[in-house]
Structure formats: structure tokens, C-alpha cells
């Protein structure tokens, strides 16, 4: 389907464009950042769209009450370890570009880890395939954000490099609580994608957009 191809294209593009080692790419730092921000924004929108279908399928897999539309459980303390997008309004407004980008980078890196754990445990082949695809796209987003940070001269936050299970995480004591963890993971992921669209909108205004799309695409492929 065209949706998937476009996604892979954007992901590869983001990955390629943001590897500073690639000499063939002829973009000035500022122009590169502007283009990367737009690409990252587009990627968050694509992922948000993909997540809607994925979450629907996954919640059905979990079964009721998780797949009920008005399911509104209280947050349990153990769920707090998933990074939350919720933030005080004035604080969010006052974030520096570096802090804003770093928050996104850290959040998606950790969410990716948790999602990979989820992928390893799911019993349904089709769902595993979808999760794997989503994880690949999410990896692309992390790379893309990293690329923006590098091109703006910010250091990448130290974080989980990639091992599937974050250290020191106790597994849920029972099946229901495990499902609750999954439910909140998907909810936080969804909220982060909504938040990132707004984060990158703000960043777009700071860094002028570049009109070099055609040139970059030609060089990338």
C-alpha cells in the first residue's frame, strides 16, 4: 500500500539525510536543520496515523475492557515509569530548543525499548509483524530527532542504547496488570505523537524551512 511505501521512503530519507558522515549530501547546517524538522514533523504525523490502526488491533488482542471506547482507568503508580508527555503549559512554552528536542529524543528512545519488549511477547503473528514495522518507523523518528539535534549543535542525550529490556524493570505480577501496562504504554505513545507535532511546529518557526527538498531527494536515491 502507498501509505507504507511513503513511510519507508520518509524513514530512509530521514535516516540518510541525518547521517553527518555522508559526504554526498550537500546541505548547509541551518538548511539541513530546517528540512529535518519538517521531515521529523511529517514522521510524527505518519506514526500517529499508523498507531491508530495498531492500537485498535492491539487493544482488541488484549480484549475487554481494554478495547472499550470509554475505558478510563486510574493511573497506577507502576505505570509512571513510561515517560509522560504531560507538562505544565507555561513550562512547555518556555522550553529551550535543546530541552524540547531532548525530551522528545529521550521519550521515544524509551518508548521504543518498551515497544520492542511488547513485540517479543505477543502471540499473534500478524500483530508481531505490525509491531515490528511500527518499531522500525519509530526508530527512524529517533534517528531523525537525533539528526536535528546534531545539525543544531546539541549533544545527544545519553539513553538506552538498544537492549530490549530496560534494566531494573519488574515484570507485572499478574496478567491483568501486564495488560494495564500495555494499555498505558500505547496511550503515552499516542499522546507523545500528538505533543511532538506541536513541539516541531514551534521548532519550525525558530529554524527557517529550507526549500531544498528536490535536491536532497535526488542525491539520496
Amino acid at each position: 500500500p502507498t501509505g507504507d511505501s511513503w513511510g519507508i521512503f520518509t524513514f530512509l530519507c530521514a535516516a540518510l539525510c541525518n547521517l553527518p558522515a555522508l559526504p554526498a549530501l550537500n546541505c548547509s547546517e541551518e538548511l539541513g536543520a530546517g528540512q529535518s524538522i519538517q521531515q521529523t514533523y511529517d514522521l510524527t504525523r505518519y506514526l500517529e496515523h499508523q498507531l491508530r490502526t495498531l492500537a485498535g488491533t492491539y487493544l482488541n488482542y488484549l480484549g475487554p475492557p481494554f478495547n472499550e471506547p470509554d475505558f478510563n482507568p486510574p493511573r497506577l503508580a507502576r505505570a509512571e515509569r513510561v515517560p509522560s508527555a504531560t507538562v505544565d503549559l507555561d513550562l512547555w512554552r518556555g522550553l529551550t530548543d535543546n530541552a524540547r528536542l531532548a525530551a522528545n529524543y529521550r521519550a521515544y528512545s524509551r518508548l521504543l525499548c518498551y515497544l520492542r519488549v511488547l513485540d517479543g511477547q505477543v502471540g499473534m503473528a500478524e500483530l508481531r509483524h505490525r509491531l515490528a514495522h511500527f518499531c522500525a518507523s519509530l526508530q527512524g523518528l529517533v534517528l531523525s530527532i537525533g539528526g536535528v539535534m546534531s545539525s543544531l549543535g546539541y549533544p545527544l542525550p545519553a539513553g538506552p542504547a538498544g537492549p530490549p529490556a530496560p534494566p531494573g524493570v519488574p515484570t507485572a505480577p499478574n496478567d491483568f496488570l501486564k495488560k494495564m501496562d500495555d494499555f498505558w504504554l500505547l496511550k503515552e505513545l499516542q499522546t507523545w505523537l500528538w505533543r511532538s507535532a506541536k513541539d516541531f511546529n514551534r521548532l519550525k518557526k525558530k529554524v527557517p524551512p529550507a526549500v531544498v527538498t528536490l535536491r536532497l531527494e535526488a542525491r539520496g536515491f
Binding site: 493511573r75 504531560t86 506541536k198 511546529n201
Partner: protein, 335 residues
């Protein structure tokens, strides 16, 4: 000693004359008019199956002295039905407002109480002076994963009712329609219309929370709308207008990423620029242009047949309209 008495429509009401005995001689009046003795049971006034029209002031006088012994104001009404509640954020990310009303009137005074719960926190919804039945809340946190639960309770002297809404922060975002929509013809361009508008003034931060727009337009003579979605900018030039035809144009707005589309803006009307007629064309010229234009779908025949100068008689008008509609139908099929 007077007070207010509330009773349900259709109820049987018994009024006692204060502390008077049952067998005392009394006269009852309703809004000053004597009430017939047939409604009395001793000194009690009996109103069976009360109607709304029976609301009013009821007074009881002692028989001989005409002392006022008791007075009450009867208000006939109904207990409240389930209220209608709506919550919406037209000023994201500042907050949201909720407004409510009763589906049917109760005819007696009602009081409303609204509660907003966000996770475990109780929030205060500040009531607006105008309009009534509306309150607003400021967001303390943004990008929340926890839903908001709003409960509205309606109470009156005859009963109470309530309704609840549960929603995510993102789900209720709906801007107000764009403002100051203006459509102007473009000089020397018979198929263009320039449309411009402004962000709704209630949207507080279009820089960080940009809006995208949806424009729809059609000539008054057709029912089919044409649509254009615009991801930025507050103006657009229509380039495929039928020459000489009056257009109706509307714009709607939506946050770029979340929520739903606003209602349509106030409609504006505009007609594309047309050249001033220099002279009336003859019948021969009209038939010439008819055969030339039926070969192409893209150029609407109205440009050639229906020029102001070409309107010679009712026969030409009939050709004009039919051809125009036929081509419009064809274009719709091919879209």
C-alpha cells in the same frame, strides 16, 4: 403568611387554609378572583390534575371577617429531564468551556451544578456571566493522557437529573469559524476570485498551534460544492470560476493536527470580473460560439454563450442554461 408551593403538572393539590379548622367557613381566591365552592372540601381547596395555567396566587379569607388567613404562590411545573451538555475547546491550549441546556422547559426555577474531574483532581469550572449556562476551565497541564469527566446536575423543587461527559483533551478541540472572509474579483481575470480570511480571534496562539483551512465554493446556480484544503496561509485564489456567475464561498478551520473542523464561516458572495459589454452581439455570433464550445469539457460554455452582451432573447437564455448544466454534469462525472 405567604410562601411558594411547587407542584407537578397533573398532580392533585390540596391547600389548607393555614391553621383554620376543616369545617371553618372560608373563601378562596385565585389571583383575586373568587373560586367556586365546588372546588372546596370543607375549608380545603382541591385542585385536581393541575395544569400550567393554574399557576398563580391563591389566598384564603375567613368567611365573615374577610381576614386574610393564608396565601400561597402556586407554581406548576415538571421535574428536570436529562440535560444536554456540550464541552469544547475553541481556544486551545488555554482551556475549554462547557455549555448546557434542558431539552424541555420545567416552568419553574432550576439550579445547575457542574463538576469537572481530571484523574483524581477536582477542577473548578468558572461560570460565565454571559451567556448563562456556560462555564470555562483553564488547562493546568497540557498533553494529558488522563480523561476529563464533566458531570452536570440539574435540580429544581420537583426533582433532579444529571448527565456526564468523558473526553480526552484532544478530542474536544474545535476552533471557531474563520473571521472576516472577503472574496473579490480579480481585474482582467474572468475566471478568478481572490478569497482571504483571518484566524478566529478566539484562537490564542496560531504560531505554535497553527490552523489549517477548508474552502468551499459553488456558483449559486449549482448545488455541487468544490473543496480546497489549505495547510497554511489565510488566502486563496479560485482559478476555475464560471465567468459571470455569482459564487457563494465559505471557509472552515481546524487545528493542524488534532480535533475537529469548525463550523462554516459566514457565507460571502462574489462574481468574477467581466468585461464591460461594448455592443450587443447578433444571433449569428451566438450560434457560432455554441458549436465551438461543445467540443471541450474544460472551458465552460457559459463563457462564450452567456456573455452579458450575448443575451439577446429568451431562446439564447434557454441554450445558455441547458448547455451550462450539461457541461457541469459532465465535469462532475469526470472529477
Amino acid at each position: 403568611d405567604s410562601h411558594i408551593q411547587y407542584e407537578r403538572v397533573g398532580a392533585d393539590v390540596t391547600m389548607k387554609c393555614g391553621s383554620m379548622d376543616w369545617d371553618a367557613a372560608v373563601t378562596w381566591t385565585a389571583n383575586g378572583t373568587d373560586i367556586d365552592e365546588s372546588h372546596l372540601n370543607g375549608s380545603y381547596l382541591i385542585l385536581k390534575n393541575v395544569e400550567l395555567s393554574q399557576s398563580g396566587q391563591y389566598s384564603c379569607y375567613e368567611g365573615s371577617s374577610w381576614h386574610l388567613k393564608y396565601q400561597t404562590y402556586l407554581r406548576v411545573g415538571t421535574p428536570p429531564k436529562e440535560p444536554v451538555l456540550m464541552c469544547r475547546s475553541n481556544n486551545y491550549p488555554k482551556g475549554f468551556y462547557c455549555s448546557w441546556h434542558l431539552p424541555t422547559p420545567t416552568y419553574i426555577p432550576n439550579s445547575f451544578n457542574i463538576s469537572v474531574i481530571h484523574g483524581t483532581k477536582d477542577m473548578v469550572c468558572e461560570k460565565d456571566a454571559v451567556p448563562k449556562n456556560r462555564c470555562h476551565i483553564r488547562y493546568l497541564q497540557l498533553f494529558s493522557t488522563v480523561k476529563y469527566k464533566v458531570t452536570l446536575t440539574v435540580t429544581n423543587a420537583l426533582g433532579k437529573n444529571f448527565t456526564t461527559l468523558t473526553f480526552d483533551e484532544f478530542a474536544i478541540v474545535k476552533p471557531d469559524p474563520p473571521e472576516s472572509v472577503v472574496a473579490k474579483p480579480v481585474p482582467n481575470n474572468p475566471r478568478r476570485l481572490e478569497v482571504s480570511w483571518q484566524n478566529p480571534s478566539s484562537w490564542p496562539d496560531p504560531e505554535s498551534f497553527p490552523l489549517k483551512f477548508f474552502l468551499r465554493y459553488r456558483p449559486l446556480i449549482l448545488d455541487q460544492w468544490q473543496h480546497v484544503e489549505l495547510s497554511d496561509g489565510t488566502s486563496h485564489t479560485i482559478t476555475d470560476a464560471y465567468a459571470g456567475k455569482e459564487y457563494i464561498i465559505q471557509v472552515a478551520a481546524k487545528d493542524n493536527d488534532i480535533g475537529t473542523w469548525s463550523d462554516w464561516s459566514v457565507a460571502v458572495h462574489a462574481t468574477p470580473w467581466t468585461e464591460e459589454p461594448k455592443h450587443l452581439t447578433t444571433e449569428a455570433q451566438i450560434t457560432e460560439t455554441t458549436s465551438a464550445s461543445t467540443s471541450s469539457f474544460m472551458a465552460p460554455p457559459t463563457t462564450k454563450i452567456c456573455d452579458k452582451g450575448a443575451m439577446v432573447g429568451s431562446g439564447a437564455m434557454a441554450v445558455c442554461w441547458t448547455a451550462g448544466l450539461v457541461v457541469a454534469a459532465y465535469s462532475v462525472l469526470f472529477i
